[in-house]
Amino acid sequence: MSAPPVGAVGREHPRLEGRDKVTGAARYAVEYPVDDVTYGWAVPAMATRGRITRIDAAPALAVPGVLAVLHHGNAPRLTPGVDQTLFLLQEPTVHYRGEFVAVVVADTIEAAREGARLVRIDYDAEPHSTVLTEHHPDLYRPDTVNPGYPPDTADGDFDAGYAAAEVRVDATYRTPAYHNNPMEPHATTAHWRDGRLLAHDSTQGSTPVQATLAQLFGLPPEAVRVIAEHVGGGFGSKGAPKAPVVLAALAARHVDRPVRLALTRQQLFGPIGYRTPTIQRVRLGADADGRIEAVCHDAISQTSTVHEFAEQTAVYTRSMYAGRHRRTTHRLVRLDVPTPFWMRAPGECPGAYALESALDELATACGVDPVELRVRNDVTVDPDSGQPFSSRNLVACLREGARRFGWADRDPTPGARHDGRWLIGTGVAGSSYPARARAAAAAATAAPDGTFEVRINATDIGTGARTALWQVAADALAVPADRVTIRVGDSDLPAAGVAGGSMGTASWSWAVIRACEQLRQRLRDGVVPAEGLTVEVSTADEIRGQRPLARYAYGAHFAQVRVDADTGEVRLDRMLGMFAAGRVVNPTTARSQLIGGMTMGLSMALHEEGLLDERYGDWVNHDLATYHVSVCADVERIEAYWLPEEDPELNPAGVKGIGEIGIVGSAAAVANAVHHATGVRVRDLPIRLDKLLEHLPAR
């Protein structure tokens, strides 16, 4: 075992499962062949708030092939108090339009769908409130904001600092509801056998799904197995168990046959979570050179009456830039809407849109270059916690990004560049995302033939996590990677946390590396027995013992847009992201995470918007033909680069996580570029053509 490590980490490698995916061999949650399978179809509530007074299942049951209609009157009982959003088919209460109130089970998917159409449900409807406003009478301060931050912070005296500042910016930014829309909908195949539940679920973490199902159904965790070998995206919306897995398990128990249940695209707009709309007021007070003295970020968002989810919108502002006098607040209102949830960089993403836009407004007000302005407001200790940073390369990202983008000769005058009918502009924004890790377990086995198997219940939601862990494992074992196999995506494997918070690779690789190191240690002592040699480790103690430091990844986003002077249409010419995110395990998959995040930020800036109809209380553009996301043609040129960054205070792999940092500053960079192109500052996303058209000079 003394051969030098082959060095898989840091090398480009395509996804291990890529071929299986493009050839269709990889199976997703409702694609596993199952004998005697049935199909479930979820029935959404058609009232916005109220009670079900009557359910008539007869017309549905009359459809040939329909086996059962489950609802609160007949569904198996769940344990209350586990997760109220999953306490489904238990009560006649309707909390929001679209809440699942029944499931139809049939021999074919078509019969199930037809049955679902025919279930007759009467409601006793009550008045509802579904629109977030800054003057909503029911605004309140939550106890904490996601995932556990204090709702409000204050340092110094913001009011005095702001009043005394030479230059002031006071602007309110609005973002609409965003819907995660992974390619694979939330979907489950559930079977019960001998009192045990097996679920193939489309989730970002089957360990928590297993735990939750066990609690809901009153089972020991060992009686539940959840498999999520391949997952077609989640963007946060599959970061916790969601309705389909509970509905499928209830239905399978009820009909005593396996049940497949997948949500439709329309059903993804709400019940599985979405990014809350936000209303954000940002105030910046600075000296004439743009040095921030006072900063305040007041964020308003919504939650449901079922469960509190408080987006940490203003948290980004706590640690990003300088300013002696600082204040952040979060207010929430419980509306008759589905519960908002995680969507790629919850908090940081909408918050950075507001703060990084306000910084652009400050740059204009001070006449300071927006890159330079950010450099001037860099900090050496985290202004929020007072802790030193494990590493902070924001300025390096800004400088190197500006160099690559060709920022140097930029004329700051808004609305001054034309190319025919196009108005041209460029914009910049900073970005950061916490570099965290959570405890995980992993096992590594050496076989007598010199091969190894590494097991961890990590989840690969299409990011390349499996491949990265395999590379890390090979290096930790100091063997060529082709002698290593990696298994993920099964709750029977050693427990690990969800793919979320950009902590997947950091957390999982930590456990994988420790398992592999220990195995190597054990192998030094002797030969591998015939049955193989296995070690299993947990990183819980090590993670608890981490030094208290501020750990963040950083980035700088640059965008160039053109705006059609006749129509107000905005198109992206190019976008460049420069990141400092620790070590990069696999450049191929890292790059696609980064440009994916950047594209999603573009989509947020220009395209995405859940259009609520207040009278019904749901989003009316609930499909991908009307809820626009950026498509390939919207991204003419996109580049992501990273700085070499060695940070010994992170984790054994030295990674910071790259799943979310790509989106954080992206929307602001685009919005700032639109302002530079047109002189028009649109403060409510998305920047649709009609919002610009009314401000562009008549032709």
């Binding site: 959404p44 058609m46 078509e110 769908r113 037809e114 159409r117 329309q266 009918r421 059609d564 006749d566 129509t567 107000g568 249409e569 198109r571 220009l606 395209h607 259009l611 109809d613 009278r615 019904y616 009316v620 553009n621 609930h622 499909d623 033909a625 009307t626 626009h628 950026s630 498509v631 043609a633 919207d634 649709r688 053509l689 009609d690 058209l693 009314e694 008549a698 032709r699």
Partner: protein, 330 residues
């Protein structure tokens, strides 16, 4: 989804007979619109008569220089056809501005013209819609109506027709060849779609059971001096927020003839006759183009969320015509 039967007739007469015999039957083209609506429960035919096997899939040049486009020619094939690109490039441009490559590979000429509105309330059986269910009301009238009509709407329905191809065909005075239980007949494309009036569920003037067999596009000497401008919410794969089809013929500086039609502004493709009238016989200037657009749009009654469409269409008209005027050899 309602269970349905499926038939592939061998000829036009059989197709029409099959449909005629069945009150709830529908013709199936590429299915890119109908099948979606069936899944959503918006349309519930019990018999699909698949017409894509009928011998209606060719594009022919007619002796007078016009074109006959078979009803089942796929949008991709039509857009790429050499005769179309040569004689009626407006059709190619309008088609290629629409949908996506995959959709255009499936979509047929007739299916494109008869695709239903994209009004989001129409597509959701949980919402009030006079078009889907007469008498239930129009949720869009006081709901989310940014994408809907500014011209020709009624209190009963404010929907728009979404086809790009139809706008081009209306500009070109195309004529439908139709076969119905009463025999063959012809209908100008401009008379195919109706304004909603009190019966938004009646979208076309086609007789019941009518099968579109072809679209005839007459020759137009200045057909190559044309443009199709489409404003949309992303670079591609989006329906028009507003569109303009234009062809211009100048005699020196004077407008000898002009064709102008608007998309995404009304329940039908909107031929801008008033604007054409204001242009014909006058020396062309950008101001004239603007005045002509204003003349057409004087009748516009924007909804709460779509007032911008007036300026949008006006700007697109000016750009389209000034661009064509500049390009015309003098």
């Amino acid at each position: 989804m309602r269970a349905f039967r499926y038939q592939r007739p061998a000829d036009v007469a059989e197709a029409v007979a099959l449909l005629d015999a069945e009150p709830d039957a529908a013709y199936l083209g590429g299915g890119t619109n109908l099948v979606d609506l069936m899944k959503l429960g918006v349309q519930r035919p019990d018999l699909l008569v698949d017409v894509t096997g009928l011998p209606l899939d060719t594009v022919d040049t007619l002796p007078d220089g016009g074109l006959r486009v078979g009803a089942t020619v796929r949008n991709s094939d039509l857009a790429a056809h050499p005769a179309v690109r040569r004689d009626h490039p407006l059709l190619s441009r309008a088609l290629l501005a629409g949908a996506s490559g995959q959709l255009r590979n499936m979509a047929t000429t007739a299916g494109n013209l008869l695709q239903r509105t994209r009004c989001v309330y129409f597509q959701d059986t949980g919402k009030a819609c006079n078009k889907r269910e007469p008498g239930t009301g129009c949720a869009a009238r006081h709901g989310q109506n940014r994408d809907l009509a500014i011209l020709g709407w009624s209190e009963f329905c404010v929907a728009t027709h979404p086809s790009d191809l139809a706008v081009a065909l209306v500009a070109l005075d195309a004529v439908l060849e139709v076969y119905d239980p009463g025999g063959a007949r012809e209908i100008p494309v401009a008379e195919l779609h109706r304004t909603p009036g009190e019966q938004p569920e009646r979208e076309t003037n086609l007789p019941r059971g009518a099968l579109i067999t072809a679209v005839r596009v007459p020759p137009l000497p200045f057909a190559r001096r044309c443009t199709y401008l489409k404003a949309r919410d992303r670079a591609t794969f989006a329906f028009a927020v507003g569109s303009v089809a234009a062809a211009l013929d100048l005699d020196g500086d004077t407008v000898r003839d002009v064709r102008l039609a608007y998309g995404a502004v009304a329940h039908r493709p909107w031929r801008a006759y008033r604007a054409e009238e204001a242009l014909r016989g006058r020396p062309f200037t950008a101001e004239l183009a603007a005045r002509a657009a204003d003349a057409e749009l004087a009748a516009a009654r924007p909804l709460p969320h779509n007032g911008f469409k007036v300026a949008l269409i006006r700007n697109l008209t000016v750009r389209a015509l000034t661009g064509l005027a500049a390009a015309v050899p003098r």
